[in-house]
Subunit: 353 residues, 2 copies
Amino acid sequence: MELNIALLPGDGIGPEVVDQAVKVVDAVAEKFGHQIKWASGLTGAAAIDAVGDPYPESTHKICMAADAVLFGAIGHPRYDNDPKAPVRPEQGLLKMRKKLGLFANVRPTFTFPSLIDNSPLKRERIEGTDLIILRELTGGIYFGERGRKDNGDTAFDTCTYTREEVKRLAKLGFEMAMNRRKKLCCVDKANVLESSRLWRETVQDMETDFPEVEVSYEFVDAVAMRLVQWPSSYDVLITENLFGDILTDEASVISGSMGLMPSASIGVHTSLFEPIHGSYPQAAGKDIANPLATVLSAAMMLEDAFDLKDEASLIRAVTNQSLAEGIVTEDLAGKSKAYKTSEVGDWLAAQVR
Amino acid sequence: MELNIALLPGDGIGPEVVDQAVKVVDAVAEKFGHQIKWASGLTGAAAIDAVGDPYPESTHKICMAADAVLFGAIGHPRYDNDPKAPVRPEQGLLKMRKKLGLFANVRPTFTFPSLIDNSPLKRERIEGTDLIILRELTGGIYFGERGRKDNGDTAFDTCTYTREEVKRLAKLGFEMAMNRRKKLCCVDKANVLESSRLWRETVQDMETDFPEVEVSYEFVDAVAMRLVQWPSSYDVLITENLFGDILTDEASVISGSMGLMPSASIGVHTSLFEPIHGSYPQAAGKDIANPLATVLSAAMMLEDAFDLKDEASLIRAVTNQSLAEGIVTEDLAGKSKAYKTSEVGDWLAAQVR
Ligand SMILES: CC(C)[C@H](C(=O)O)[C@@H](O)C(=O)O
Ligand SMILES: CC(C)[C@H](C(=O)O)[C@@H](O)C(=O)O
């Protein structure tokens, strides 16, 4: 099979961790007889520096021509604490999401038995946690009208949703739940927001199409509590863009394995796979960043975008093996030997072969 | 001193827990020679049932005439999962906040040494946690324009903030920080939202007026993570209404003592004190609910609204004593004897005397 993959390393540790995923995917392709064509594009601060645009048209063309996109991370400290900077790396992210129609961000949270004690939560609270948050990614207050009035003294943002946007996201959620434990939680603030009432209404109307799925409706503030109290009680959660931003990050710390969590963004034109961690600028260029989240994102890509289940399983197996044998970067090494980012990548690729 | 206090018991367990706070405050007043005038008003589902309005004008008059308001909880299961109900108890809450000008919700999170092991978080993560979230309570998307278009298929909500609203809240935050560990964190989403950029700008402009306060700016998603990872690293956090709703609830579960956490809402016309827990309808009328959060809210009221520091300290002392001696309701009793709500109130009042 021929796989056309766009590669967007981005900023900070992005390029280093993406490199390891490429090594591993190349090894898998060799073993299974696939042809991979990688096409690299600039994004984020790196793209601002090169061409003044965090998501340039040239990069967009590369993504549109590809079957899937593998993404590192973007963000640079130069732009932090400067809300007035005219062009910011994050704008590239939002532009990319919109132009590629990446309407659903899929964020699994699960535990690795060997890492469970890294969690800030007690073991008995998180054991068995295996949930997915499905975040709407191209609507809501992120993309609504915004601006200033009264000489800049009043600022406003608008959260808008259409029934079709909610349906599209919710349908994915119902389908995922059907392939899992058949529980769906719609997270909203329907006691206050009109857009949330539209969400709740729409999901309620869809219940009859998925009679086997047990649907619950919870307010976002209650979910923010229960995610810490009883994360294992959730299966699939669906929610709008801003709530999803907050809850996915909150959920990411409960497993104790944030450096390992992959994610997917499912789109109209293509889909994109990326580690959930950021660009971690302090570690950039030091060959110390943990590449496993990116490697696992590549596994998600092979499975979801190309239906290559065995290939994905093999990547997950060698990843687990690296954890079991302690071939890990300093964040997980504890008192044992810490391997370099590139060494972990080489080891995983060798195991695949 | 004469204290005019409006009493809004509300729904569910509200009346029972408020009763205990009244007992304790009456005992304190007797001991210190104060005159208390309690004036009760209806709110929530109880008020909808009686007069069709969850915050009737008669109740508003009582609050306006009082020096402070002691509030129980509102909410009734009859209204859950029914986003289309024409009148909902929560509307009373929002109306009350707006009409009383309760612009700042003060939510402390701290640990009780004897209860720390109830937390879902590991002891070493939460020890020493003592933070306050200051949530803007009368602006933002809770009170902006909202509605439907396209025959109901499009819904929108608007988040609006003025510089004055931000200043008023931030000023309180700076002042609180000055009386504490002098750290202030402004929580926003300035990388996306215009209203957040106004927040950040305004707080940045105020930094020179409080040179001793160390100010940090963090995105709401990052704070949702760090609250679980390192809650003790925070002192005072200020944020807008919706972010505050989510973060205060998230923070409330980390101490392991949610049933004990008081809160204050500071207003233009008066101020209001209430436990952070809800109306807990399943327990209503059973004399089993934990009254300590309401009793501690009354202590906050004596201190903040009436400057009665010794009186407040006495209430806190007897509360700690009840915890130490195990005079507690079933939620805290473990394998020991559980006391009734009313028995705990009686015991506290007797200790005060
Ligand atoms: C960088 C920022 C715009 C972005 C978001 O809020 O969507 C990030 O937090 C994320 O979750 O991918
Ligand atoms: C009931 C609801 C409207 C309310 C809010 O969101 O403000 C509640 O969650 C709270 O935090 O007091």
